[in-house]
């Protein structure tokens, strides 16, 4: 009776709604369940924004208070690795969209393919991030007893001395923000791995692919957070 599940189109799923194994008992119909799940996901994203918002707030406050040190710290970041990672994430957002499209069209193998590519892109990001962190260790830019910051803020040839303690604060926030972002990337990679396995087993069909959509929303949010982190941490002090 469920043999035709993976091949049923949108029209036939409506007929078979009563048998839809994904429909949980307390919902009246699949549409209500889908609406509830997506509203829930959007609300969760709101909490994520508030969560990161606390750190963005701290960053902005301290950037205003210690502009020179933050600019000098910013110049020490590896802009090429940051830019590459930005590109990687943007591409991964595209593959997520394509995965959702594939789920909508009921193309199981394509769906699994895009999910796997997304996970690989996410891991690429994390590996590059790891190299960046290693560079910080080598340059003694990791806050703590070994922290050492002798660089001067070099803007238009002027040497502005920088309080190393304030630069340490910049790197504290750099690690707190990118670390928290990386943690979300790791969770996202795990999520998509699970979804890829479930998709391979045929859990999703054009009538039910809400988890793919919602995980996609999560991934886009994590990308967007990076899209703000990149200019704030790497770019805005690099004028001239």
């Amino acid at each position: 009776m469920h043999d035709s599940q993976s091949t049923t189109g949108p029209a036939t799923t409506m007929e078979h709604e009563a048998h839809n194994p994904a429909l949980r008992h307390h919902f009246a119909d699949a549409q209500q369940q889908k609406n509830a799940a997506s509203l829930g996901m959007w609300l969760f994203l709101v909490t994520e924004i508030m969560f990161f918002g606390g750190m963005f707030c701290a960053y902005l406050v301290y950037r205003l208070a210690h502009f020179n040190a933050f600019a000098a710290g910013s110049q020490q970041l590896n802009i090429w690795m940051g830019a590459t990672n930005t590109a990687v994430l943007i591409v991964s957002s595209v593959t997520v969209v394509l995965a959702v499209k594939a789920a909508e069209a009921g193309k199981r193998k394509v769906l699994v393919g895009y999910l796997v590519v997304t996970v690989l892109l996410g891991m690429t990001f994390l590996v590059i991030k790891g190299f960046e962190y290693r560079e910080k260790f080598e340059k003694h830019h990791v806050p703590g007893p070994t922290f050492n910051f002798t660089d001067k803020f070099d803007d238009n040839g002027k040497q502005i001395p920088v309080n190393p303690k304030e630069a340490e604060l910049f790197f504290s926030l750099y690690f707190a923000m990118t670390g928290m972002h990386a943690l979300h990337m790791i969770i996202g990679c795990g999520l998509f791995t699970v979804l890829a396995v479930l998709a391979w087993k045929g859990h999703y069909n054009p009538g039910y692919f809400t988890p793919i959509e919602n995980a996609g929303l999560y991934w886009h949010l994590v990308d967007i957070i990076w899209i703000y982190l990149f200019p704030l941490l790497y770019l805005i002090s690099r004028h001239s």
């Binding site: 307390h26 509830a36 829930g40 609300l43 301290y62 604060l169 504290s172 707190a176």
Partner: protein, 552 residues
Amino acid sequence: MASTVIPANRAPAPTPKLNYLNNGHTLKSWLLTTDHKRIAVLYLISVTAFFFLGGFFAMLIRLELLTPQGDLMQADTYNKVFTMHGIIMVFFFLIPVVPAVLGNFLVPLMIGAKDLAFPRINLLSWYLYIIGGILISHVMLTGGVDTGWTFYTPFSTEYTNTKIVEAGLAVFIAGFSSIFTGLNFIVTIHRMRAPGLTWDRLPLFIWSNYATSLVMVLGTPVVAITIVLVAVERLFHLGIFDPRLGGDPLLFQHLFWFYSHPAVYIMILPSMGVVSELIACFARKRVFGYKFVALSSVAIAVFGFLVWAHHMFVAGISLYAAMIFSFLSFSVGVPSAVKVFNWTATLYKGSISYATPMLYAFGFIGLFTMGGLTGLMLATIGIDVHVTDTYFVVAHFHYVMVGGVLMGYLGGMHFWWPKITGRMYPEAWAKLSALLVFVGFNLTFFPQFILGYVGMPRRYWQYPPEFQALNVLSTAGASILAAGYLLPMIYFVWSLRYGKIAGANPWHAAGLEWKTTSPPPTFNFDETPVVTWEAYNYDEIPPWERRAPVAR
């Protein structure tokens, strides 16, 4: 189904019908349940346990303050005791109590749904609460924390060598429990309402839980990240709040109070919703100004986010900022007053009966008004500078949080106890306990207003001898209060076995939750109700049911 003949003496079997309580008896059927009503019961048990744990610390504080010198404990222990009292009462009792117990039980019932939108997330949030609770108990048993529940930096990040990180983790985890509850409620109220139950027909308890959930979802993540920052600062010696590294301790206070002031509304709003239900039922009238009462909840949630710096008037913010926050704090008084005036207007020409829940509702109005008005005093910069960190502040927030929240909660527990268990509580004992709570509460906390005003600072284990008389009064009141809280524990448990069978609607109340059996079946309603009436349509109830019966 076959037994349609009801035996004349239906004594021993509590409820012949299959309901949520007897649908599965194993421990597993409780611990892995996704039924919102069972989860509410799980919360009821755990929240009560933490209430008595927090109350135990309160008793230690009051005993120590019986005499001016430190005789029961010294400064270090005292600091840990009031910290544990604060953390447990705020994060593990007051914040979850009404939403997680009464809200969990009632939100789906009141909107005619089979369950919350995400039953498994609901169970997860109970487990998060328990994990947080176990962690904080572990902290308590292995040394405790001495920063006060506010975790102020740089003391918490630099100087204290107590278990900040673990306590922070406990609060962080409990915070996510609260976030998930809020998220679940918002989605449920948006997406799961019965046909015909439009927004302007929703019970006010739903409105207030909706507003609460907004605060939970928007505020809690901020305190979560703040705690994370404190923890990483402590663990990795970052300098985010450390002035020696260019950080700013004031930023911690801003982030902390951005959540922790609105948290006061997480606590009080659901209780306000309870009071609206009680007043309507026991005055047999539609709540006066329904729309204003409903929207005032949302207004409180919104304004509540704009007033946090009134906790920082003496912390070093600019006078200009202080003036703005003072003004905004006054503005929260408006929607709060809207509620109080509308409740009183509802009573006017009502057919009032004085069952226990109504006594608690009256208690709530009186004590909340006291707490609210002294809140306006504290929002006035001049007075606040005078009484900052004195017992005046302690008395003020206990009037709101204990006088307000607990009165609402106990009123609600008595009101819905027959729905939750199918049994009536003993009315005479309940009235006695309501009286003890009211008298004990005022005797405990009113002297603290005076103590604070004449200069007794909070958070000290000893004090000048001239403060002793009022402190003795306060401790005496606390003993009466404790008796008032223990009594319901006893007779509620007693009533589980010996209470009168309640029937579906012992109060002849109007809400949807009364249109199903008590206790309700697992999926709440045999068939989904269709709503064609406004909330609190007491004027449409048949005349012989108009007056709420006084239970005996």
